[in-house]
């Protein structure tokens, strides 16, 4: 709500108030004031001019005019606007003037004709297109006849620009300030002044009309529904004072009937509607829900297919208005309208909100209805509107209001105690001080000992419970006046859950290994959601995604890291070590499941580029080595970790990818990105990208805390090398299994020291060399024991996997 400082002065004495300082005070105490602006700011030398004469310039669209600007001689001004004419009072930018956009106006020559200024349209002096009356949208502004303006005077006062506009950026609970009267109550409470709210005295000079209409209203849809009739209306432009108040509030003036309804809405917060009475020749008026298939063309010329949940006003047959949202074109007040039906009503807030949302047609009216309106303002508003139309459009007001529904809502009585309010705020405010605060709010409050009873008027429908009163007292007492204290509580033990603590170990290790932590979006495309995933699960998809690439919750983290790799490669960042710890999501088994994962992505070189050319391309075994270190640092026994080649993980290289098992449980995968994927994404082409992904929900329960240290071995270890020749299909894992199973209890360490296949051996064979370390922690190991163990190993290798010992 844009609140005019000058209009506020109708209700409050603001002589002592600086508008900007007041705005700040309101922000601190009530409603956020997003800005305080003065429309005339930045403008200069804009005066009223009277067009003395005006002639068309042949062969052009221009006019040569002479304009009285209050000086001895009229100024010659060349004007291109189609609506310039002799006798008009207009806005003139003199030589040296500043108009909108800080543009400077100078005298000059147009087509050889001297021009000593410019006749302006409203947009040219800073008005938004949305508030300029349609009549002046494509030309200059012409002061209406009633405007009390003299040539040469500044235009700012006449146009309402010498005002400060306070932008009330309200939260949904403070819709009571979406009106001048509501704002006046709020500002009055803040500056400790009672606002002057005038009652309406209306003279009804027409006949009683209340029996002339058959009005049927469903009370559930419209608990209050009032109508008035005016006749003999002369539809015309509104007086300038009303237009200025409307456009300063961001509303476009239309005519003296529609403008009055908007003006009253601004004044009291009650949305109003004016119908051309000709729309109800049937003599019927009905408020009901729309029927399937009904259509209505709204005032903005949008034809809508009505929904059975929309409330409509009908003439007994067809809809003429979408209730609470916007009128229909078929009942519009136009220039030839003479009789008007005025409506002041309260509609079901939820139904209005949904209708406005459904038809993407939120209006000033609907946004007020959905947040609530003052139940006490229905009658005052319809009378005030009738009075204004009577005064400004020469109308006769027929006697009586048709109150088709008239549900009552009494003031809410909230009972609490002074001590409760003080207890919640942590203050020692006296009962008298509290009573004074409620008096500032114009709430009727009584204290009886500690007991506090507050009658909350209907205009503050946001207040219903003691906590609401705490807020009123707190904010007007001033949050700055609250002490800063710490809760006095028994000691509590803070910390992370066991799971969180373990999760942090993974992150620390990854960072220690030189990884940069990444954070990706959880929403991705349905395809990416299940790539890099051994077993795709039921998808979690949002109903109205922003776009198809952000429609599905990821089932793996790798996809986000691959997106990051693509992004970085495109920016020539080739050495990547990224990890992400986050959740993956699925809908397996009909429940929504979230699992914590950790993924890592590697590409480029092991070291940063260096002058010694000491480098190594990152490959599968480098990444596996990093993962091995991570497992070691987590205390996972390396013998419990098994890697099994997996050809079938989507997006991964079929012959360079492995499943990872710990204690026979699948915990994740490691490998290289598939070429096909790399080829599809131009940025990924030519890069070898490796990574792994772990399911922390499976691994973390296997982890333990703490350890027992052993002394360093006191006896020397003995190490032996072993070189064998085996068929290619045997994996290292299989060979190691044989060695470990047969090397006896003293085998401490087993290392692969060479792998060879090629020209010097049979094509279907490969040669591997191992180094075995034996250690007896309790005694010196003898050669005989080790030799015996080696003999057992070689025998088993020959027997089990047809190895040749070299």
């Amino acid at each position: 709500m844009l609140v005019s400082f000058n209009w506020l002065k109708d209700f409050l004495n603001l002589d002592e108030q600086d508008p900007k300082a007041l705005g700040e005070k309101i922000t601190r105490t009530g409603v956020e004031i997003a800005s305080v602006t003065r429309p005339a700011d930045g403008l200069k030398k804009l005066v009223v001019g009277h067009v003395v004469d005006c002639e068309g310039v042949e062969g052009t669209h221009l006019h040569l005019t002479h304009v009285d600007v209050g000086e001895d001689e009229p100024l010659q001004i060349v004007c291109g606007a189609p609506n310039v004419a002799a006798g008009e009072d207009v806005i003139v930018a003199l030589h040296g003037a500043r108009i909108a956009g800080n543009e400077k106006i100078k005298k000059g020559k147009i087509r050889g004709m001297e021009s000593y200024g410019m006749i302006c349209g409203l947009q040219e002096i800073g008005f938004s297109d949305s508030v300029v009356p349609k009549k002046y949208a494509d030309g200059i502004f012409v002061f209406p006849k009633d405007a009390d303006v003299k040539p040469g005077q500044d235009v700012y006062d006449a146009l309402g620009m010498n005002d400060y506009i306070l932008d009330f950026d309200i939260t949904p609970n403070r819709a009571d300030t979406l009106s001048m009267e509501g704002s006046a109550y709020e500002v009055g409470a803040i500056i400790d002044q009672k606002p002057k709210i005038e009652p309406v005295v209306l003279k009804e000079d027409g006949p009683d009309w209340t029996d002339s209409f058959d009005v049927k209203v469903d009370e559930k849809l419209a608990p209050k529904f009032y109508l008035r009739k005016l006749t003999g209306v002369k539809v015309d432009e509104s007086p300038l004072w009303m237009q200025t108040r409307l456009w300063n509030a961001g509303i476009r003036p239309i005519n003296n009937v529609v403008d009055v309804t908007n003006y009253i809405m601004l004044l009291t917060g009650q949305p109003m509607h004016a119908y051309d009475a000709r729309a109800f020749e049937s003599g019927k008026f009905e408020v009901r829900t729309a029927k399937d298939g009904e259509k209505l063309t709204l005032l903005n010329e949008k034809e809508v297919d009505l929904d059975p949940h929309d409330i409509v006003i009908t003439d007994g047959e067809k809809p003429v208005m979408m209730a609470g949202v916007m009128g229909g074109l078929n009942s519009e007040v136009t220039d030839d309208t003479t009789d008007v039906i005025l409506e002041s009503a309260i509609f079901d807030p939820t139904m209005v909100r949904r209708a406005a949302f459904r038809h993407a047609n939120r209006t000033e009216a609907s946004s007020r209805y959905e947040k609530g309106v003052n139940w006490d303002a229905t009658e005052k508003s319809i009378n005030a509107a009738a009075l204004l139309i009577r005064n400004e459009a020469g109308a006769t007001v027929d006697e009586g209001i048709i109150k088709a529904t008239d549900a009552k809502r009494g003031p809410v009585v909230v009972k609490t105690t002074v001590s409760y309010i003080n207890k919640v705020l942590g203050t020692k405010i006296s009962a008298d001080e509290m009573l004074h605060i409620f008096d500032r709010l114009n709430f009727d409050a009584k204290v009886n000992g500690d007991e506090l009873v507050v009658n909350v008027p209907n205009r503050r429908w946001d207040i219903a419970i003691p906590a609401d009163l705490v807020e009123e007292v707190g904010r007007l007492y001033g949050y700055d006046n609250l002490k800063s204290t710490q809760p006095l509580l028994p000691e509590t033990h803070g910390g992370y859950s066991e799971f969180e603590t373990q999760m942090r170990r993974f992150k620390r290790i990854a960072e220690g290994q030189g990884m940069l932590e990444a954070v990706s979006y959880s929403l991705t495309s349905p395809e990416k959601a299940v790539s890099f995933t051994k077993k795709a699960k039921a998808l979690v998809q949002v109903q109205m995604p922003l776009n198809s690439s952000r429609s599905t919750m990821r089932q793996n983290l790798m996809t986000g890291l691959v997106d990051a790799a693509s992004y970085n490669f495109a920016r020539k960042q080739m050495d990547l070590r990224l990890y992400e710890q986050g959740r993956v999501y699925d809908h397996e088994g009909g429940t929504f499941n979230e699992h914590e994962h950790l993924a890592a992505l590697y590409a480029g070189q092991t070291f940063a580029e260096n002058w010694q050319h000491e480098n190594q391309k990152i490959d599968f075994y480098f990444v596996k080595g990093q993962l091995t270190n991570m497992f070691t640092a987590l205390g996972i026994n390396e013998n419990d970790v098994i890697y099994k080649a997996d050809e079938a993980i989507p997006g991964m290289h079929p012959t360079r990818t492995a499943d990872i098992y710990i204690k026979d449980q699948y915990v994740g995968m490691i490998g290289m990105l598939a070429h096909s994927l790399a080829l599809a994404d131009k940025n990924l082409r030519g890069h070898e990208v490796y990574g792994y992904e772990l399911d922390l929900d499976v691994i973390i329960p296997m982890l333990t805390h703490g350890m027992t240290a052993k002394p360093a071995p006191k006896f020397p270890a003995i190490s032996r090398d072993l070189s064998i020749l085996v068929k290619k299909e045997y994996t290292n894992q299989e060979i190691e299994n044989v060695i470990k199973a047969n090397a006896g209890k003293y085998l401490r360490d087993l290392k692969v020291i060479d792998v060879y296949s090629g020209a010097h051996i049979e094509p279907d064979k490969k040669s591997l060399a191992y180094n075995l370390t034996f250690l007896n922690e309790k005694d010196t190991l003898t050669d005989e024991v080790v030799t015996k163990a080696m003999d057992q190993v070689t025998a088993a290798l020959k027997e089990d996997i047809e190895a040749k010992i070299r």
């Binding site: 939260t171 006095l488 030189g514 940069l516």
Partner: protein
């Protein structure tokens, strides 16, 4: 030539040879030749029988003197040679210490987690538990339990990604409050928790909006918690994150789950409150929302709101990081450009 002359000659010749020996091998040859078992001095000793008995004592003495001299000089010469050798080797091994070193990758936390981890440890120190809740949340916990029934106009403030009519991606971490409130046993002590995590809103991504971001929720409930306690707590957090010299203020606001509701502003750390583009010339920067827990939220969780009360606050980690590190585009957090991420390697944490 008598023996004395011979010794004299040997002395000169020997010292000369020692001096000339250019390496350890040659020096050793000289040593063998001079004082070895078959060396010159030994020969002289063997020829003692030819010496007159009265001279023998003197010859013996001279021979010993000469042996000592040779030994001494040989030792010195050897030391010299070793020294020269080491010197040469050191020369050969000389490197340019100003050439750059080989760097391997240096890891770092993501800026959002730098902020989060710092806040978490701060709250843990004050006795708060860190609680995690589901990101796929029910309408019930995300909204209804938080005093946001269906068709509450405040739901407009949150564009929600619904999965079906009941399930959604949480728009706020507040659902964690409801879950913890339901479970907490106040006979075991007061409730103090923070709940951090990812949240989602149906906003198109641009410099200031992100459909995914991170929040942290805080909740303290017991019998005697006041709004002054809230003010003191928020004041401490703001100063911890943005600097001890910052001023703070509370403004009225509205959240369905708190009453009264406030927002906290911190005096602008860019201009120190004078007014600049960072604070939009107000001198203040909004950093978080908070309030006293709405009685309905307590009652919804089965807690007697006439006995228990407390405060809650919610802060945006992205916003904190944006303000603390002077970041001007929220999307920088989610594109994972390594040039952006690498900057945070030096952030203390």
């Amino acid at each position: 030539m008598d023996l004395f002359d011979k010794l004299k000659q040997l002395r000169e010749q020997g010292l000369d040879e020692i001096k000339k020996a250019s390496n350890e091998k040659k020096l050793n040859d000289v040593r063998v030749e001079l004082i070895g078992r078959k060396g010159e001095l030994t020969k002289i000793l063997h020829s003692m029988k030819e010496v007159a008995p009265e001279d023998r004592r003197e010859v013996g003495q001279k021979v010993n003197e000469l042996r000592d001299l040779f030994n001494q000089r040989l030792g010195e010469a050897k030391d010299e040679l070793v020294k020269a050798l080491i010197q040469k080797r050191l020369e050969d091994e000389k490197i340019d210490v100003t050439l750059p070193g080989r760097t391997s990758a240096l890891g770092s936390k993501h800026p959002l987690y730098l902020i989060l981890d710092d806040l978490e440890s701060y709250f843990i120190g004050m006795g708060y538990k860190v609680v995690q809740g589901p990101e796929i949340e029910t309408d019930h916990y995300c909204f209804e339990m938080m005093n946001l029934p269906k068709d509450h106009p405040a739901r407009d403030m949150q564009a929600t990604f619904y999965i079906d009519s009941e399930d959604l991606l949480r728009t706020q971490t507040s659902g964690d409050q409801a879950r913890v409130l339901e479970k907490h046993d106040f006979s075991q002590g007061p409730l103090k928790m923070v709940g951090p995590g990812k949240v989602y809103r149906r906003d198109d991504d641009d410099a200031t909006h992100s459909h995914q971001f991170m929040q942290m929720e805080g909740l303290v409930v017991d019998k005697n918690i006041t709004m002054s306690d809230l003010k003191g707590t928020l004041d401490m957090i703001a100063k911890h994150v943005f600097g001890q010299d910052r001023e703070t203020r509370l403004r009225p606001s509205y959240f369905p789950f708190t009453e009264p509701s406030v927002e906290m502003d911190v005096s602008c750390f860019n201009c120190d409150g004078k007014g600049c583009p960072v604070c939009k010339y107000t001198g203040w920067i909004e950093v978080l929302g908070a309030g006293m827990v709405h009685p309905n939220v307590l009652e919804n969780a089965g807690i007697d709101s006439t006995v228990y009360g407390g405060f809650a606050f919610g802060l945006g980690l992205d916003r904190f990081a944006i303000l603390k590190y002077g970041i001007d585009d929220i999307r920088d957090f989610y594109t994972n450009d390594v040039r952006f991420l690498k900057q945070f390697r030096k952030e203390e944490n």
